[in-house]
């Protein structure tokens, strides 16, 4: 005879667990379907009017995401989607069909020019400068050279002698990807002449494509903040965004004043690969509605907002400099609503 075995504890727990998991799965499924149908979930105030996608220079991240974007949405009801990167890199993406923005904001007119004309694909037919900024040297308060750098900021020491100190880690952006990288080199060349210090550029920057100094624009401030760099070349608005201490540079070299363009033009930079020559000029941010725009009404509304007094107030509050919007290109191709800003 086989011995009868004791019955094991019946698995009601397993049954309940199965039911619980099935319910969870069902709820999850329903939620997902709803979300997928509804598009982007919570956080959007209204998508009724559509979205405006803005590609902008990487130095404006904080301004655009925290200030301009929300203000624009509140004022007009369009939802705002922005992405910041080096201007030259963004232009390459537009040309390479990776991006189709409604608005393109760059940190250099040269970048816009590179998208104009039939040889370049006719992505841009007009652009307008709408604000300015100046070059400064931002530094990390945790740096071991902080005391010296602060002395330079106060004017007690010359900034270039501080930068020349051995062991100083300097950061700047890539001239190939970012107008600020080119501006840095031009700045140093102007400094050479201004301070009568020949060879200063090489001493401080090394070569033009010195890999130990070059970093992507979006990361530069972060690296400064995390202590990987002691000092770096930035725009004024960038360091103000991140509350970093900075050294102001003389107007003759900091590319901030358009009236000094003839002085700035004494320095230039030639791209080794494309042989394109960039002449020194005051830094101006440009805005355009490229041909890739999908939401025409939204794009016009955004440009209008930015050029309006409301937009300009926000810009000034961020450390950017006032400028009269100047149009490049035929005014007839500019949308009617925006033409009011360009009648000089």
């Amino acid at each position: 005879m086989f011995f009868k075995q004791q019955a094991q504890t019946p698995s009601t727990l397993s049954y309940q667990l199965n039911v619980a998991m099935a319910c969870c799965g069902l709820i999850l499924l329903i939620t997902m379907l709803l979300a997928a149908c509804g598009g982007t979930p919570t956080g959007n105030t209204s998508t009724a009017k559509g979205k405006v996608s803005v590609l902008y220079a990487g130095s404006l991240v904080n301004l655009m995401e925290k200030k301009i974007g929300p203000a624009f949405t509140q004022a007009t009801g369009y939802s705002y989607e922005g992405e910041g990167k080096g201007s030259t890199a963004l232009a390459a993406e537009i040309k390479g069909h990776l991006r189709t923005p409604d608005i393109f904001i760059s940190a250099s007119a040269a970048v816009d020019k590179s998208l104009m004309g039939s040889a370049n694909g006719n992505y841009v037919s007009w652009y307008a400068t709408f604000t300015r900024t100046s070059m400064v040297i931002g530094y990390s308060p945790q740096s071991r050279f902080a005391a010296d750098l602060q002395a330079a900021a106060n004017g007690n020491k010359s900034w270039y002698s501080v930068l020349e100190e051995p062991g100083m880690r300097i950061g700047r952006t890539d001239p190939a990807l970012d107008p600020k990288g080119i501006s840095t080199i031009i700045l140093m060349e102007l400094a050479e002449k201004y301070y009568h210090q020949p060879g200063l550029t090489t001493k401080i920057l090394g070569s033009n494509d010195n890999a130990s100094q070059i970093f992507p624009e979006e990361e530069l401030t972060a690296r400064l903040g995390s202590g990987q760099l002691d000092a770096g070349f930035f725009y004024l608005n960038e360091v103000k965004d991140q509350n970093l201490p900075y050294i102001t540079l003389p107007t003759q070299i900091n590319l901030s004043d358009p009236s000094m363009n003839s002085a700035y033009a004494q320095a230039s930079y030639t791209d080794p690969k494309t042989s394109k020559k960039t002449v020194g000029a005051a830094i101006a941010y440009t805005i355009t509605i490229p041909g890739t725009s999908k939401n025409a009404a939204g794009a016009i509304a955004f440009a209008d907002f930015l050029l309006s007094s409301q937009g300009q107030t926000i810009l000034l509050g961020d450390g950017l400099l006032q400028t009269t919007p100047a149009l490049y290109g035929n005014i007839s191709v500019v949308p009617a609503q925006l033409q009011q800003y360009f009648h000089s």
Binding site: L29, P41, K66
Partner: protein, 262 residues
């Protein structure tokens, strides 16, 4: 070499790697300004990014489960010409750097692409949308699930399938009622891995679908715009979410295994 020395060496090797993996997280938690964290986490965009991440990852993993687990089963159980090549193809998304994956997807599904173009013109963008995020995540996370599922199915005793055939069951029933339940642990481990991978996906989503923000992209935006201090609490969020997800799955596995142990 003594027996104990051999055992110690194994343990030491493992512990060293474990320390290396755990120490950055540990230090991060240690030096985090905890008082400031709740304020920083109240950022509505951050919460929105978190919800987007969770939803897209879950949708992606469900799609991968429905289509990828049967693929893993076929690769494990059926022999056919070209099986080797097919297995190789499954590894492809792993081979590409995620940014490259994003570019490839964008070429096809972007507004200029042959598939994406018609959709975009109809007003339904395949890139730069929830769908775009899901597409990127499916692309990068699939290999994890398929390969894990294949291993799990390979480990199933073929005799089980054979007796099921003699009971008159057809292929689908055998897959659903025999192979899948027996291979369940391995498949679920693969799905978990895929879910985590989808959750943490950055390179492909940055290129293909920058918006809507997923948590990794938003952390990067915060890093660029505001600085490291703004990014760290969000990293904490990522850590918490992953931890909860993994714990939940492991717990359910443990529960269902407990009643089967002798």
């Amino acid at each position: 070499m003594g027996r104990n020395a051999g055992r110690s060496i194994l343990a030491i090797l493992g512990v060293l790697l474990l320390l290396y993996l755990v120490s950055p997280v540990g230090y991060f938690l240690f030096q985090l300004p905890w008082r400031a964290v709740p304020g920083q986490l109240a950022d509505p965009t951050a919460i929105s990014a978190l919800v987007t991440s969770l939803l897209t990852a879950t949708v992606s993993i469900v799609v991968i489960a429905v289509f990828g687990v049967p693929l893993g089963y076929i690769l494990a159980r059926r022999t056919f010409t070209g099986r080797g090549i097919l297995t190789l193809l499954v590894y492809l998304p792993l081979v590409f750097p995620p940014v490259v994956s994003g570019i490839l997807l964008l070429l096809l599904y972007g507004p200029y692409g042959p598939i994406g173009g018609p959709f975009t013109n109809a007003g339904f963008e395949l890139d730069s949308s929830f769908t775009g995020v899901v597409l990127s995540q499916i692309f990068v996370a699939s290999p994890f699930v398929i390969i894990a599922a294949r291993s799990a199915f390979e480990a199933v005793d073929p005799a089980l399938e054979q007796v099921a055939i003699t009971f008159g069951k057809d292929s689908w029933e055998i897959f659903w009622r025999v192979n899948l339940p027996v291979a369940r642990a391995g498949v679920i481990a693969g799905l978990l891995l895929g879910w985590l991978r989808a959750l943490g996906e950055f390179g492909a989503t940055v290129v293909m679908a920058y918006h809507p923000y997923t948590l990794p992209v938003y952390i990067f935006v915060q890093l660029s715009g505001t600085g490291v201090d703004a990014a760290l609490p969000l990293a904490l969020l990522t850590l918490a979410v992953s931890f909860v997800g993994v714990s939940f799955v492991l717990w359910t596995q443990h529960i269902s295994n407990r009643r089967k142990v002798a």
